[in-house]
Amino acid sequence: MSKKVVTVTILLIAAACVLPFVVSNYRTFQLTLVLVYAIALLGLNILTGYNGQISLGHGAFYAIGAYTAAMLMDQAGMPYWATIPIAGAVCLLAGFLFGLPALRLEGLYLALATFALAVSMPPILKSHLLERWSGGVQGIVIVKPDPPAFLADVGIKLNPDQWLYYFALAIALVLFVIGWNLIYGRIGRALIAIRDHHTAAEAMGINTALYKSLAFGVSAMYTGIAGALGAIAVQFVAPDSFTVFLSITLLVGIVVGGLASLSGAIYGALFIQFVPNIADELSKAAPWAVFGIFLIGFVYLMPTGVAGAMRALLGRLGRGKLSPPKEALP
């Protein structure tokens, strides 16, 4: 990381900390959702962007995380903060286990398997087998957490929206730092090597099976933690919240934000949070049509995502000249 990047990152974090005091509670709530999506997208990016395994089913892990948190709070009376690591652990395991058979699947086949996972999630959540804990079709309403008492004791007054925002921000920061270390460390190099040169990676002695399942697990863990946070923020889980469209939205998020890019997760989160609202403002008759045009437009203008476009732009500004487009030898 260059000094400039560090400075910019610190400034951005500082800005993120000030925001809840500048904007309304409703905006704070929206920003909390952006953080939630950013975590989920980072998770998906570890799998799809860095490791090259496509997933059309990450909404399922988001749902597992959300339901884990909701059921623990509702059934076991567990405090909200304690449910986050448990949701992460459950999803780590679920992702790892799903990743094991998925090892043998690539490309379209993996797309089908994960798509199937996404489609299967609502019926499973509704199933009479789980109804006693999951609330069946009715879902579970959960209580919004209040800021902890010790903050008030030291004179910091926060409303629940602000508190939840900071809670999510803290978790997001921790997860992004872990993600950064993961991706720029040995594991990340292995993941990328597997993505780009599978056979060569194997020859280099990388245990591709282990790393690929691990990527699935870690990816699911991130998305699951996001799901848990999302459930706490929204105060409600129901099967209808986690349809296949959630999975597709997440995929759209990483592609528009930028594949294999940490900052891409944030751009993607902003996109999936705000662009549907803009589409709705523009047309009540066919909001999806407007959204679709936005989607295609983004891909046209920035085929490597917002992060890729930003990189190119910064590179240009930095060197003050046009860098030639890289054209691979056929």
Binding site: H128, V255, I296
Partner: protein, 288 residues
């Protein structure tokens, strides 16, 4: 025992629906090596065109042919206008364009034609019906088989079909033998859209026409195509029928309706784990 037979027959009828869309997926895959997630919505949209023509008093088979022609042109135009600019973008970017197309078509159809269901006529005479399969279900299955035969002949025995397969597999070499790869892609889109339009017109009398007519079917068709072997039209049809029957039997006798899809999908994925090329897909061998 009779109940089983009836469920099997009903499963074949539903499976025929999956098979017809799966054929369109195989078609586009053969031509572009991509699976177009908007294929179902394109079929739905074409079916609305047919519906409008029929409402305007055009006779059935004329409307049928006009719709197929329209769909073909529509497919070619989409490839030329929407897909061409992202030809060299990463695969996932193209997938996102497909998703964009899907939501646009779905939304525009709802906007123009509203979301109330429309009945769509069947061209088949009542004599075609057998016990527990309506004339239309039998007829639709037959049409699916005819489309299958046409596709098989097209890909196997015509130079154009061969060129399309080649263009999808190895565009560089294809250009070297003089194939206009760009047009092959456009043609593939056109033909897939045409096959999809036929599927739409065969499906609509069974499930009724509405903007979401195909969105549920897409997953089944995708599963069917992979189960049969994504580059095999025959496999796609067999895959569709198997998925239809399997789902019915699971729902009626094994696991119940609630989880039948889940279990069916687990089974299909299991088969693909053991046999990744599906029933009839070519074994993808290569020497470096």
């Amino acid at each position: 025992m009779e109940a089983v037979l009836f469920q099997v027959l009903a499963g074949l009828a539903t499976g025929g629906i999956y098979a017809s869309l799966a054929l369109a997926l195989v078609m586009i895959y053969q031509a572009t090596h991509l699976v177009n997630f908007a294929q179902g919505e394109m079929a739905m949209f074409a079916t609305y065109i047919a519906w409008s023509l029929l409402n305007a008093g055009v006779p059935y088979w004329a409307a049928f042919l006009l719709t197929v022609a329209f769909a073909f042109v529509f497919g070619v135009l989409i490839e030329r206008i929407v897909i061409r600019p992202v030809e060299n973008a990463p695969v996932l970017a193209v997938v996102v364009v497909f998703i964009g197309l899907l939501v646009i078509l779905n939304s525009v159809a709802g906007w123009i034609f509203s979301y109330t269901i429309k009945s769509f006529p069947s061209p088949f005479p009542a004599a075609l019906g057998i016990r527990y399969m309506s004339p239309h279900q039998v007829g639709a299955l037959a049409v699916t088989l005819v489309v299958l035969a046409l596709l098989y002949v097209f890909f196997r025995f015509t130079p154009l079909g061969l060129a399309m397969r080649a263009a999808a597999q190895n565009p560089v070499s294809s250009r070297l033998v003089g194939i206009r790869v760009g047009w092959m892609l456009a043609l593939g889109w056109g033909l897939a859209a045409a096959v999809g339009a036929v599927a739409g017109m065969m499906v609509a009398p069974i499930v009724y026409l509405d903007p979401n007519m195909m969105s549920g079917i897409l997953l089944y068709a995708f599963a069917a195509a992979l189960l049969g072997g994504i580059d095999s039209p025959g496999g796609a049809v067999l895959g569709g029928l198997v998925v239809g029957v399997l789902e019915n039997l699971l729902g009626a006798f094994v696991i119940g309706n609630e989880l039948k899809l889940v279990v069916a999908l687990v089974l299909i994925t299991g088969v693909l784990l053991v046999r990744p090329s599906g029933f009839f897909g070519s074994v993808q061998v290569s020497r470096v």
